[in-house]
């Protein structure tokens, strides 16, 4: 039933985005407009992890 999605590539990009968000957070923690918007970005990235990254371990055939 599964369509062939390149989950591994998707996950790699999600991890890069997450790393970028974490780095921004580190250098901008005293910058309210940056810090507060990053909370939202990181929450959205978590949703990508729930939808994509979490599925990878259980769905090795489509990796």
């Amino acid at each position: 039933m599964n369509q062939a999605f390149d989950l591994k590539k998707m996950n790699d990009i999600i991890l890069c985005m997450k790393q970028g968000a974490d780095e921004l957070k580190e250098i901008g923690s005293d910058f309210p407009a940056l810090d507060r918007n990053l909370v939202r970005i990181r929450a959205s990235l978590k949703m990508l992890e729930i939808n994509i990254s979490d599925a990878i371990e259980s769905n090795s055939q489509t990796e």
Partner: protein, 444 residues
């Protein structure tokens, strides 16, 4: 075209059951550790039972973990960190949302959420709405008094997330809401079954509008079992000329199940985000096979501020013994939520579920949508009174309707009732959760 994609998550929603179970097990361990390490309440509960995260090696081990009851949450709240108490797993400053339960069964429980939790709520709803055919072209009207109850808040944000245009029908009366639906040509809406039927009545009687002539194509229900009760669903679909879908969720849990467009007589459990266990109410055994009813014990894998780990929801459900033709591998619970363990009560020695009475009343042509059931003690015997309304043309067929009602009640509930008939509009109307079943025996 993304709108033609059938599934919100084409990977998770079609994953083989064994792989889903593997995913659930891994995710359970993570949320269990999270709660154990960060909440004094959870750690205390698990330490008392002699269980720590490293002990969870199989689903059998999960079954040994104590369940959490709503009453426990009431006991620990209204204390520091105020007002949530010891179940809070994040610093208070990370909480961005407050909601509370409706208090139907006692003192309300407070529910804190972080922004991530709130995003997750909307994600749960995105699964629901996509499965029910909501797409970016939809204009969704939400006739809900936006307040401290979670109700359709997350539905609002879930619809926005998938790209719908959302119209918040907050502080408006019912007639104004109907006129706004008409004016904007809204294509979908979300409401309780009671309110969906009530709106249809107001449209006809106060505005002279046939609700089926409006542009609503689909309606998503919540808050009551009605959209999974075939006769109630039929009444709503006929009135509005629209498809009516059920879903189930709760403040302390999240939106955990949904009916899809196939309308196969059950709700899919969102097994990528939740672990649903069904527990035999007499033995405590976990039921894995279809066809046996029990109460739901549920875990939300990704809710972090106030985790939901093996929460005893008291919802009565059973696994379906068939797969849904929609292709989703997420299992179905047959007939949706069948009632609440604390609502199913013995009357005259017979187990009675209030939703069965609703099924009968809404199945008798000539009766209105409203009804009320009162159970009282008369001496040593239970007495059940059922109050119903005639629709206007129904009063002329009283004998025939009464005969059908008595027969169906006898057949479906095996009980005899004192019937009281009223004119349309005489019984109380509800906008949110209806309270039609009144058991006065304990107060006698």
């Amino acid at each position: 075209m993304i709108s033609e994609q059938k599934y919100w998550n084409p990977v998770l929603e079609t994953l083989d059951h064994e792989k889903i179970r593997k995913l659930q097990f891994e995710k359970f361990k993570k949320i269990f550790s999270w709660a154990y390490e960060r909440s004094r309440f959870h750690r205390g509960l698990y330490e008392k039972a002699g269980i720590k995260p490293g002990d969870i090696l199989s689903f059998e081990d999960i079954r040994r973990i104590p369940t959490v009851e709503k009453s426990m949450m009431r006991d620990i709240q209204r204390k520091d960190p105020f007002p949530y108490g010891d179940a809070l797993c994040v610093p208070l400053e990370e909480v961005t949302e407050f909601r509370q339960t409706s208090g139907t069964t006692g003192q309300p429980v407070y529910q804190p959420d972080t922004w991530q939790d709130w995003e997750w709520w909307a994600e749960c709803w995105a699964y629901i709405l996509w499965a029910q055919g909501y797409r970016p072209r939809d204009r969704v009207f939400i006739p809900f008094g936006y307040n401290i109850f979670v109700a359709f808040w997350a539905g609002h944000y879930g619809a926005e997330k998938i790209g719908c245009e959302v119209v918040p029908g907050g502080v408006m009366d019912t007639a104004a809401r109907i006129l706004k639906i008409q004016e904007l040509k809204a294509t979908a809406m979300m409401a309780t079954p009671t309110y969906v039927l009530g709106m249809a009545d107001v449209a006809r009687t106060q505005l002279g509008i046939d609700p089926a002539s409006l542009s609503i194509e689909k309606i998503t229900c919540a808050g009551e079992c009605g959209a999974s009760i075939p006769t109630t669903k039929h009444r709503m679909e006929s009135a509005w000329g629209a498809r009516v879908y059920d879903h189930s969720g709760a403040t302390e849990i999240g939106a955990w199940s949904y009916e899809c467009q196939a309308q196969s007589g059950g709700l899919h459990v969102n097994e990528g985000l939740f672990l649903v266990e069904i527990q035999d109410m007499d033995t405590g055994e976990i039921i894995t096979e279809p066809g046996r009813r029990g109460k739901m014990i549920i875990t939300a894998f990704d809710r972090i501020a106030q985790p939901c780990v093996r929460f005893d929801s008291k919802d009565v459900i059973e696994w379906a013994d068939y797969a849904c033709p929609c292709g989703r591998t997420y299992r179905l619970i047959k007939g949706g939520v069948l009632g609440r363990a604390d609502d199913i009560t013995k009357v005259k020695g017979v187990l009675l579920s209030p939703s069965t009475i609703e099924e009968v009343v809404r199945g008798v042509e000539g009766l209105g949508n409203e009804y009320e059931v009162v159970v009282e003690k008369q001496g040593d015997t239970d007495r059940i009174t059922l109050k119903v309304e005639f629709v206007r043309e129904g009063e002329t067929r009283r004998t025939e309707i009464e005969r059908e009602l008595v027969g169906q009640l006898r057949l479906k509930t095996n009980l005899r009732y004192d019937l009281q008939f009223f004119s349309l509009g005489a019984l109380p109307r509800y906008e949110v959760k209806a309270r039609r079943f009144k058991d006065l025996r304990s107060k006698a």
